[in-house]
Symmetry: C2
Subunit: 234 residues, 2 copies
């Protein structure tokens, strides 16, 4: 007997991590509904990357518009400076300038609403507590607390038909994530991780996110398909 695939809502930013998370959800037998957010990111290229990644993995994408004023005052949506040229230990220290107040909580709450509307009980998010431990909303204890809150916030929780929040990457290094995705056939050329791409959507190669990604490909022994801006040493 073949059972019908279950639906899952997968948060998709268009970056390397969420593209891998989508592949894991599909490997695990879920029909994925991808969710991206338009919230005044400085680089709208992210949404283009999310659309390409969803299409390549045969999954529908829903884009939810979010009022950017809710997220004022940080380096990703405001005028803050995106740090460049930092190395591993510097990146690991403290809460990044690119921290957006309560962002993952807002995204997950909206994903929960969509999931409940669809009748889905599974949510996937590509948070990671290893390389980028400075983000408070990527920690395992945040994930557990959200899952509990989600089940108290909803009809499903009342009916003991619980939501599950899957974080398949949370304890993996960037290199491990890349090897996992490569095994699952993820085309990383479609993804965009850079915080500060050029007008053609090419990566700067120097922001924290680029630095972690480049080192990840090196350590994984997987060729880096990233399109870098001219002049970036590769």
């Amino acid at each position: 007997m073949v059972s019908a695939p279950r639906q899952a809502v997968v948060l998709l930013s268009g970056g390397l991590d969420s593209a891998t998370t989508l592949a894991v959800a599909r490997r695990d037998g879920f029909d994925a509904v991808c969710l991206a957010f338009a919230y005044g990111q400085n680089h709208a290229d992210e949404l283009g990357a999310a659309a390409r990644v969803a299409r390549a993995q045969d999954s529908p994408l829903r884009v939810i518009e979010l009022d950017a004023s809710a997220f004022a005052g940080n380096a990703l949506t405001g005028d803050g400076q995106i740090p460049k040229g930092r190395s591993g230990p510097e990146i690991a220290g403290g809460i990044p300038a690119t921290y957006v107040p309560a962002r993952n909580l807002v995204f997950l709450s909206l994903a929960l609403g969509v999931a409940e509307t669809l009748g889905a009980r599974d949510l996937f998010i590509g948070v990671n507590a290893v390389d980028y431990s400075g983000y408070p909303d990527c920690r395992p204890e945040f994930i557990s607390a959200f899952e509990e809150t989600a089940n108290l916030a909803t009809k499903a929780g009342v009916a003991s038909d619980s939501f599950r929040l899957h974080t398949p990457l949370i304890h993996l290094s960037k290199a491990q994530i890349i090897r996992l995705g490569a095994d699952l056939g993820v085309d990383y050329a479609l993804t965009l991780s850079c915080y500060d791409p050029d007008d053609d959507g090419r990566a700067c190669g120097r922001c924290d996110s680029c630095a972690l990604r480049r080192r990840g490909f090196e350590e994984a022994g997987v060729p880096d398909p990233t399109r870098y801006a001219p002049g970036v040493a590769t």
Copy 2:
């Protein structure tokens, strides 16, 4: 020595409960920043009521636009039927048709982002677990879980500079809420509780929310200033 008032973010729907909650926040010495959401409510009159209530209590109002598609499939934002003419025991049973998936969680998450941006640590929400116990996201256990999650989701939580979620109405009956608000000088004529007002913003007098509100004024012994649609027996 007079200390500077602390800022608090107060969720304001324009209804009776949130108007009372705002008055409590001000009584407790907070400078209130009110937050309302435009999310495809069938009656945009709510936002007009929120603006009137905020103005009457000398507090700024921020309106955050929310993509209505995140909340599809319920009687408040969709095509569902709003129940009418039910009495107390009927209203108390089960989860209402007007339940919106994960709504309070989404609203509180956005309020948390605004609070963190402002440097505020106090949030107020007028949820109530007595008259309308059918909403899962009005229960005390949801409130506790959210507070814990909020402190794990944010910079402030990491710095042990904790957020507090105030729910001053949670254990009050509607009549007690009305007496409290009347003592604090709340002008309930400015508020709108009806799920289905007419084109002039007058209350239907028959939906669950109107029924609870009318009975509350009766039990409180406070004159009901609500503008009802013509033909509603008062």
